[in-house]
Structure formats: structure tokens, C-alpha cells
């Protein structure tokens, strides 16, 4: 399934760095997201967009994560040639990431 079915996201920008929140609709899916929406998985998923690194911050009290993507915005909103110079739409790119269905995983580990 797509990440979009379990979580929502908003993108923010500071200079050439984008941040993407990932917030579980249901806090019970936090661990599943922690296992599968790793910094490495997001880096690979957004390989054509992020020239720098991806750092993931964990916020268990909110059932959320914050991904920080460096060199991801064509130099930043003030000089980027991109149509979406803020990278506002990158939240939608993140939510396209394919992850296992948590219900399938529960069945298979039985």
C-alpha cells in the first residue's frame, strides 16, 4: 500500500532544505511506519529530487516523523528555476512511497 493510506504530510522549506512531516492517522501504526518509512527508504524513493541527505527525526508523542532533505530545492525558493520552487508538492511525493500493509504483516508473523 501507499504511505498515503496510513499517514499525512506537509512540506516546508528553508533555503535549499525541505522538511516533510509524516503523521500517522492512527498512532497504532507509528511502529509500522518507523520500520518501513526509514530515512534510507525515503532517500531512495526521492532519489531524483534530493541531491543531499535525508535525516529522520522521530516524534513518538505525536505519532509522527520529520524528514529533513538537504539540497532538495534547486538552490531554494528565491533562486530555483522549478515551477514549485518551495517544493510544496513534495509531501505528495513522499506519500506515494510503497510500504507493506500492516494487516498482512501481522498475519504473516503469526
Amino acid at each position: 500500500m501507499k504511505l498515503r493510506e496510513l499517514a499525512h504530510s506537509r512540506a516546508g522549506d528553508k533555503g535549499d532544505t525541505s522538511n516533510l512531516s509524516l503523521i500517522a492517522y492512527d498512532a497504532r501504526h507509528y511502529e509500522h511506519l518507523r520500520r518501513h518509512a526509514t530515512a534510507a527508504a525515503v532517500r531512495a524513493h526521492l532519489a531524483g529530487i534530493v541531491a543531499g541527505e535525508v535525516i529522520r527525526h522521530e516524534l513518538p508523542a505525536l505519532g509522527a516523523f520529520n524528514f529533513v532533505l538537504t539540497r532538495a530545492l534547486g538552490g531554494g525558493v528565491t533562486r530555483s528555476l522549478a515551477i514549485d520552487a518551495h517544493g510544496k508538492s513534495l509531501s505528495s511525493a513522499l506519500l506515494e512511497l510503497e510500504i507493506p500493509d500492516p494487516d498482512d504483516e501481522r498475519v504473516s508473523t503469526r
Binding site: 499525512h8 533555503g15 531524483g48 514549485d84 511525493a93
Partner: protein, 463 residues
């Protein structure tokens, strides 16, 4: 500076035990009328307009160079004319960064509007001192982003403005000012200052200042916490976004904080809308650096306590770094752009052919570019070719070519080469739009807070 004068909004807040902050704008072009709804029906004590994006102040500085009375927010007139009478009648104070590159001129303009409206007793304060262009040019600063010396940009530099903290805003509030107008200040500080002023928070109580930063951060983008920028039909439905109500923060002296909005307004306040806004434009949630505190959002909790009433607590903090971020605006070449659309069966192939034609034309006519982009809107413009491969062919495609050039004349040639596709390119192209502009870019430097001198100037309304 004027003597300390209590304001009636402070007396009302003290009697209630909470202060109610309204967010009247989340960016310079934001909707106008939600602020009036907050003043008339929100029972608020303070109305904050956050209107200053990173680059705006550099553009405003250019305007001020052309006209010494200009350089403040272009919508200041519209916003003040909409709310000033109602705010004055109800004793609602206004705090805003609409001063941009010229807070004093903005204060004089506001006083002139108050005079026109017959609001003779209004006091307007301008917060000065964020303009640090002279010391930045004189010093040996390097950009945080590129590491390059600031001096190397020479006369391309337009502006350097420090993100001020709460101290000068509090100083302005203590004069009894009804309207406080700043230039560059940390966005959360516009909200934190009235809290520090009302509750007498100590400037070394890092946990309270951290929680106060949570308040400011959740409110500063206005509609973004009340359901704006959130809806995704079927997954995240939000009613009545055409009339979205802007947020109200109810804050107690101990930092307890509830986000709400005017009853009957559009939008929703939910735990999910608050979480999205809490993490908006944050890097390390445990160290959100502000002029007055290193705020820690990592243990913030969000709890629904009623319809459109969300309690947000747990913000903490530690001592600030002692350095202020300074945004330096500079001229960074030019950008030219052109767009054209293709539709129907074969649209994608014709658009791709058109892109190749423009690419070759820029080469053979010798347009000087240091960077170019060839996009197909509706296909690969936002997330690149990898994402595009996962989808079928669209019915319509819009081609977009953009390039960075050393001069405006070169920039104009890019759009022109797209336009010539009308008579020289593939079949069925339509809807050309072209543009060329000078680029004002922004990078930042850090300066010691102790090197930034601020002051407050009062403008009285004279009749």
C-alpha cells in the same frame, strides 16, 4: 521612549485569566476579511498579522530606495482600513511585521489612516533596528548556505535584516501602543511578545518561552492550522474552505494553550491540523532556534477537548545561541521562462518534440544560460521523470522552459524561443505565456545578538 502605559486589552486578559491571540494573516497576500471576523466575533485581545516572507524585505528595500516613504507591505492600507475601527472600539491591539523595510513609514501611514477614520486616540509604535546592512557590509561575514564571503557580492547586496526577538516588541507594548509595527522579526516572536508582556514571563524561563514558541508557530500561518492547506478529499475532508476561520490561541499564564476559531466559520481545528502545522518548516524538532530560546517541540502533545478546540502543551526550551539569523538579499541574475500547451492523442510526443526544438534553438542562437530546466507540466515538472513513468499518458501537457541568464535581454530570449513554436513548432500548440525577471535571492549569516541595537518610535494620531 515613552513612559509605560497599561493597555485595556491587558486588563481584560487579566480578568479572564487567559489572553486570546488572533492570527489575522499568514502571509503578505492572505485573505483580508477573516481578520475582521476575529476582531468582531473572536473576543480576542491581540490581532497579529504575519506578512513578511524571506525575500519580501529585499524587494521592499528596493522600493524604499526609489521612494523613502515606501518599502512597507502593499496590503497594509487594506488590512488597517478593514480592522482598525473595530479593533479600536474593542480595545484589540495589533502586532504586525508589515513594516517590512520601512516600519516607521508604515506606522505613519497607519496613523494617517486612523486620522481619516476619526480614531484620534490611537497610538502606533514602530520597532526599528532589524536593518543591519551597514555592519554586515563592514564585517567579515560568510553565508551559512554557501560559505562564500558576503563582501564578494559587492553592490549586488540589497538588504540585510536580523530576525529580532521579543524584547523590542515588548518595549513597544509597554508604551501602551495600540498598533505595533515591526520589520523583520522572528515570526513566533510576534505572538510570544504579547504573552511575555501580559504574563510577565521571565526571559530565562526557557520552558515557558519554548511553549510560547509553540503558540506562535501554530498560529503564525493563520489558516494553515484551521484546515487550510490540509484537505485531501476522501481522506482529509474539511468543510467550507472558502470561508475558513483564522485561528485563536487561548493562552494561560502557565503556558496552557488551546487552538480554536470563531464558531460558525469555515474550516476545522483537529489534532491532525495542529500536528501538520507544528512540524511545518521545522528541522530538528528538539532544537527550533529562536532569538530568545532554543525551543523543543519533541514532547509536545495534542489533545481534542471539544469541537474545534485542541489543547497543545509540552513545549519546552533551553538557552538561545546568542546569535541572530540575518537574511541577506542580493541580485542573482535573471530568469526567463516560456510555456505552451498541447492536447489530445499524441500530445506528449508533440510536447517532447517541442522541448527538443527549444533546446536546440537556445543553442544555435547562443542564448547565455548558466542553468536551464525543460519541464512538461502534468507529466514531470514537479517530481521528475521517475514519478512520471508510473502514470499513463495525460490528455493535455504544458511545456515549460526556464533559464538563468546574466542579463534581462538574454532572459527575454528564452520566452521568445518558446513563443516561436506557434509558427515553427509541432502542430496544435496554444496558450503561450512568457516572462522575464530579475532574481532577488536570499542567503543568511549569523550575527551576535549583542551587536543588534533596537529602538521604538511612537507615532501619535494628530487631528
Amino acid at each position: 521612549m515613552s513612559a509605560v502605559r497599561p493597555h485595556r486589552a491587558a486588563g481584560r486578559a487579566a480578568a479572564r485569566g487567559t489572553i486570546r491571540l488572533g492570527a489575522g494573516a499568514g502571509y503578505s497576500g492572505d485573505r483580508i476579511e477573516p481578520a475582521l471576523e476575529l476582531v468582531e466575533r473572536g473576543d480576542i485581545d491581540v490581532l497579529v498579522f504575519e506578512c513578511l516572507a524571506e525575500r519580501t524585505i529585499a524587494l521592499a528595500q528596493q522600493a524604499r530606495h526609489r521612494d523613502p516613504d515606501a518599502g512597507f507591505d502593499p496590503l497594509l492600507d487594506a488590512r488597517m482600513r478593514t480592522v482598525l475601527r473595530a479593533a479600536s472600539e474593542r480595545g484589540v491591539r495589533i502586532v504586525t511585521n508589515m513594516g517590512a523595510a520601512n516600519p516607521l513609514a508604515a506606522a505613519r501611514r497607519t496613523a494617517a489612516i486612523a486620522r481619516e477614520l476619526g480614531l484620534a486616540s490611537l497610538r502606533v509604535a514602530a520597532v526599528l533596528g532589524d536593518d543591519v546592512l551597514a555592519p554586515v557590509l563592514a564585517g567579515a561575514f560568510r553565508f551559512e548556505e554557501s560559505g562564500a564571503p558576503v563582501r564578494d557580492l559587492g553592490d549586488r547586496i540589497l538588504s540585510a535584516n536580523a530576525y529580532l526577538g521579543v524584547a523590542p516588541i515588548c518595549a513597544a507594548l509597554r508604551t501602551g501602543a495600540d498598533v505595533v509595527i515591526t520589520g523583520r522579526a522572528a515570526d513566533p516572536a510576534l505572538f510570544l511578545a504579547p504573552l511575555v508582556d501580559a504574563f510577565g514571563w521571565s526571559m530565562d524561563d526557557w520552558n515557558l518561552l519554548g511553549q510560547g514558541t509553540v503558540v506562535g508557530h501554530l498560529l503564525e500561518c493563520a489558516g494553515q492550522v484551521t484546515g487550510g492547506y490540509f484537505a485531501d478529499p476522501g481522506l482529509k475532508d474539511i468543510p467550507d474552505l472558502a470561508r475558513v476561520g483564522f485561528p485563536i490561541g487561548e493562552v494561560s499564564a502557565d503556558g496552557d494553550f488551546v487552538v480554536t476559531k470563531v464558531e460558525g466559520s469555515g474550516g476545522r481545528v483537529t489534532p491532525a491540523t495542529c500536528k501538520e502545522q507544528l512540524l511545518y518548516e521545522i528541522h530538528d524538532p528538539a532544537r527550533y532556534l529562536q532569538p530568545d530560546v532554543a525551543a523543543d517541540f519533541s514532547r509536545v502533545r495534542v489533545e481534542a477537548i471539544g469541537t474545534d478546540r485542541i489543547r497543545v502543551v509540552g513545549g519546552r526550551g533551553s538557552a538561545p545561541t546568542g546569535m541572530l539569523k540575518v537574511s541577506v538579499g542580493y541580485v542573482d541574475g535573471h530568469v526567463g521562462e516560456g510555456q505552451i500547451s498541447y492536447a489530445g492523442t499524441g500530445a506528449l510526443a508533440r510536447a517532447r518534440l517541442a522541448l527538443e526544438i527549444v533546446r536546440e534553438r537556445l543553442r544555435i542562437t547562443g542564448v547565455q544560460t548558466s542553468e536551464t530546466r525543460f519541464d512538461l507540466l502534468g507529466v514531470d515538472a514537479l517530481h521528475g521523470p521517475d514519478a512520471a513513468q508510473r502514470r499513463g499518458e495525460p490528455y493535455e501537457v504544458r511545456l515549460r522552459v526556464a533559464g538563468r541568464t546574466p542579463s534581462m535581454a538574454e532572459a527575454v530570449r528564452i520566452g521568445n524561443e518558446v513563443e516561436t513554436l506557434y509558427t515553427n513548432g509541432p502542430a496544435g500548440g496554444g496558450g503561450v505565456v512568457k516572462s522575464a525577471r530579475e532574481v532577488v535571492a536570499v542567503q543568511s549569516v549569523l550575527v551576535p545578538a549583542s551587536a543588534v541595537r533596537t529602538s521604538v518610535e511612537i507615532v501619535e494620531v494628530t487631528t
